[in-house]
Symmetry: C2
Subunit: 203 residues, 2 copies
DNA sequence: CCACTTGCTGACCGTGGAGTCATCAATTAT
DNA sequence: ATAATTGATGACTCCACGGTCAGCAAGTGG
């Protein structure tokens, strides 16, 4: 019988593993209903260890949100800035695709957690606003500006509120979170919105 | 010194009073973080009494949601059906006004509660879907159908997803719930959406 | 005025979960 | 080898909160 140690020390990997397990648990049950014991079990770790890396449950929560957020955002915004496509092609292609993936992505979970718990974690809301919302909206505005300069969009396009593009994504997220069973063609919803927007701003 | 009784018996009013207090408390702290003791205090009542009228905290939660929902919906949908205005006038007038009031109304609070707690109360989600979402969407569809029959809208308007009208309302709700401080002209957002939609479906 | 009903109170109970810490054992240093 | 270090464990504490219930007093009927 080989000498199996009861555990290995893995100082480097633990925090990430615990945060990932916590994300799963929060996603399933929400913040309040999640037990630290359960998080520890999922991570294959004892409850006490969780407290070595995260001083409180709230700390863990914040780490989870920051974690998901930073992992996703940069690549996305990079894409927008480095494309060689025409504005319309980009919108109808990569951008639409990205929007359509949002409702099924971890970002949707984070949105739910923030809506549910945001009030009691204002600094987390600020963090999310600065790193996701503000940057996302700015990227859209820059993109439109570029389109105007290239002559692809009418100058009046500058007046467009970027939130008009986001609204159907938001609705689709909420719809799926609440009414997973009731069908709604969220892909078509976003396509229609883009059709309308383009019709209005194209040169 | 007048003989002040310690309390009055008010069998009829208690349930409503308690439910209203609970709504306030849930709105401020969310379901999980709300203490029955706190609800009772707000209602000026002892904790025990709460349990006389609502057997569990969950019961109370459901009563609160149903309460808010039924108080609001009927009048709204009545308006849509009984108007004498042209379709465009109705949309730009009463409907837009209603949409603009939504984000500040108790419905927004209910939406937050449902997003946060919906998973663990599927029957409540169903109730909300049947009584608010389904009826609301049906009303919009009927209204469009009527517009088509009157020749105000193109027949293709029938293909329009009613959720396109709701999306900016949803986004505005969430925005205000999370980012009360960061400004966003939600009224203009809805107006723009209506402009775009009308441009597309008007005969 | 008294007897009776019942709306209402608040002290109490049990549970479960956040957070602690004495101790163990894997790893590293000597 | 042996000692020192520290990652990791899990039994334990503490207490907050949902839910109970024996008793009290406001209302009611005779």
């Amino acid at each position: 019988m080989p000498d199996q140690p009861k555990y290995q020390r893995r100082k480097e990997d633990r925090p990430r593993e615990i945060a990932d397990a916590a994300f799963e648990a929060f996603a399933e049950k929400g913040y309040a209903a999640t037990r630290i014991d359960d998080v520890a079990k999922r991570a294959g770790v004892s409850k006490g260890l969780t407290y070595l890396y995260y001083k409180t449950k709230e700390d863990l929560f914040k780490a989870v949100v920051r974690n998901v957020v930073v992992r996703r955002i940069d690549s996305l915004i990079g894409d927008v800035e480095s494309t060689e496509l025409s504005s319309e092609e980009f919108i109808r292609g990569p951008l639409l695709g990205f929007m359509q993936r949002m409702p099924g992505s971890p970002i949707a979970i984070v949105v739910r957690l923030l809506i549910a718990e945001g009030r009691r974690h204002p600094d987390l809301v600020d963090y999310y606003y600065d790193n996701v919302v503000a940057r996302g909206l700015a990227a859209i505005r820059d993109f439109i500006e570029r389109g105007v300069e290239r002559g692809e969009f009418r100058p009046a396009a500058r007046e467009l509120q970027p939130q008009l593009l986001v609204a159907p994504v938001m609705l689709s997220m909420i719809w799926r979170l609440l009414f997973a069973d009731k069908s709604l063609d969220t892909d078509r919803l976003m396509e229609s919105q883009i059709d309308m927007l383009l019709a209005q701003i194209k040169a």
